[in-house]
Symmetry: C2
Subunit: 333 residues, 2 copies
DNA sequence: GAAAATTTTGCAACCGGTTGCAAAAAACAA
DNA sequence: TTGTTTTTTGCAACCGGTTGCAAAATTTTC
């Protein structure tokens, strides 16, 4: 059915190797034969089979992209950036949707079977152990948005969540808040834990009182909304630090529904700075996570592992910053 | 490096074919050899190489998934459903992000090179010609969310956009609106064109006056916001039909920013019923597009084409319905 | 228990490329 | 021109599986 190397070789009157060589980078072919081959290939509409090539070279140009949060629109931004970055480097993403039902070890198996060249685990809600399974299977892996460890055993690209939690505390204090609430992401997520830890520590240091504290059960709108309703039973807090923008939007809507005005009655600060945070309906003050830098960096890292698989595990941390919009009461001059 | 068929065969004391057969569905192996092979495979940690298998069987279990709208959160729902549906059928999505920069014919080439078993074009903003290119390359293809044609030359799964546009007009009339505006998606998208056509036709039939009409330049929040600002220069309309929920949200925020209350001063009806449409900040009345049905059906269709590639092109249309929430003024009893 | 029918097994060719090696061709030097 | 060096070329083996075919083994039938 499809045109093969052999047919092109016959038509061009050269050996199969010659054809192969004109289609592989840096191989030695004379200008004359290259011309002949290219013409024959064009006539026949030939394009080399990547499957066959993969088998021979043991390289597939496939990168496994593992994600488990298809509820949070921020992941659409993430996918957009990943697919583009990979495409630009002539690599292809093989997307794995890790739902609660799917067995994690099955996906390791799976990606191994497809002999992906590398794997990017793009999630802050997966345990470090998960990414580790790939290392054991000898597959280059980087954990993007993963938990920072001072002696990492796999590559980590992300932010210092503990520090960013502290940043949120400082921001609230700067805006003259005294009593605040914490509404975190799912407690099983390392990102949620670390943000909570940093927030709590710094709050204590600077005399910010955390009057209530709650974890949503997912990085999702509904979870935020629901958790906020609970929080509203005890209204001693003047502002809320939400561990994620989407959660924050849910929380804000719950607060408004209870008749509160933002930021007059209650202030909010989110986390991520997703595109939607800038929407007028929310205009969210938030901690910006440099998503695009993290993604590009993790792609670069996995690419460089293709050549030097035994690279020592590296941690790459990017700084977060505060984006001031309209959900905290203004700082008085 | 990786364990191969041959090693398993040697350890189990059988031929390579025997090993191959225990790992392929419906092949003939005795219980005894199967046992031996399975043990050897387990001991060695063997799993068959899908690359090699693909080369031999000419089947990759890869489905190309082509999308070009990574701005609209509804696509995250789409990806979620697609990846799940494919995974359940033991297929894998190879995601292609078709940006404005990427050459469409290059992606045809690309997916051909990876010898994907089939392709799903998941976009209402791509010209019918695009999907057609795969048919010409002999690759099973279905266009999801594509334009319905009475004599299709490729498989189409989606909705009757013209009809749904008409449904929007009827809904506005039912809510006692007289003068309305139309704020469509990008004019190049067939979905936007068809929704506009149906809306206009039906409006005329039932005496609904369309006082202004405008196309946003993308299915995106900002585009909706911007278009709405323009529309607000001439405020003769009492309600707006937006060709997409996200556009509608942008438009609503623009209206509120101009001091209008919804639905008291101006009504809105959207399109899609994305998850976010139910958010309290919007609580959008909208035309529901049965996304999940479309996706499952398109996966089924592409799967069935794997066995019978020459299947006659088929159109599968799913009905839309109105979801009433809070952005149109109530119908008075 | 033998003959016939059925199932299981191994051989060997094949899928469509790549690549080390040695021979052939071309380029260069004297 | 000839000898030497460099580049290009084809051969053949290999990547890791699958599969048609005929022989071997097993099961069924009488």
């Amino acid at each position: 059915m499809a045109v093969t190397l052999k047919e092109v070789a016959e038509r061009a009157g050269v050996s199969r190797s010659a054809v192969s060589r004109t289609f592989t980078q840096g191989a030695s072919v004379s200008a004359k034969t290259r011309k002949k081959v290219e013409k024959a290939a064009r006539d026949l509409g030939y394009s080399p089979s990547l499957i066959a090539r993969s088998l021979a070279t043991n390289r597939t140009k496939l990168i496994g992209l593992i994600a488990n949060n298809f509820q949070n629109p921020v992941f659409l931004e993430v996918f957009d950036l990943y697919t583009r970055a990979l495409q630009e480097r002539n690599l292809r993403p093989l997307l794995v949707n890790l739902t609660d039902q799917t067995d994690p070890s099955a996906s390791v198996q799976l990606l191994k079977q497809y002999s992906v060249d590398g794997v990017i685990v793009a999630s802050s809600t997966l345990p470090p152990l998960f990414a580790h399974a790939f290392k054991e299977a000898q597959v280059p892996v980087v954990h993007a948005f993963g938990r920072f460890a001072s002696t990492p055993d796999i590559h980590i690209v992300g932010i210092d969540n503990e520090h960013c939690g502290a940043l949120a505390a400082e921001t609230l204090q700067k805006h003259r808040y005294k009593r605040v609430a914490f509404l975190g992401g799912p407690q099983s997520a390392t990102s949620a834990q670390d943000r909570a830890a940093g927030f709590t520590r710094r709050a204590k240091e600077i005399g910010l009182e955390i009057v209530s504290s709650l974890y949503a059960d997912a990085y999702a709108y509904n979870s935020g909304q629901q958790a906020m309703r609970e929080l509203l039973n005890d209204r001693r807090f003047e502002a809320v630090f939400c561990g994620d923008d989407l959660i924050c939007m849910g929380a804000m809507d719950a607060a408004r529904d209870a008749g509160l005005s933002i930021p007059q009655d209650v202030g909010f600060i989110g986390f991520n700075d997703m595109n939607m945070a800038a929407w007028q309906a929310y205009s969210l003050t938030t901690i910006r996570q440099p998503t695009s830098e993290i993604i590009l960096s993790s792609v670069d890292l996995v690419v460089s592992m293709l050549d030097t698989p035994e690279r020592a595990p590296e941690v790459r941390l990017f700084p977060c910053s505060v984006v001031e919009r309209g959900t905290l009461k203004p700082i008085e001059g």
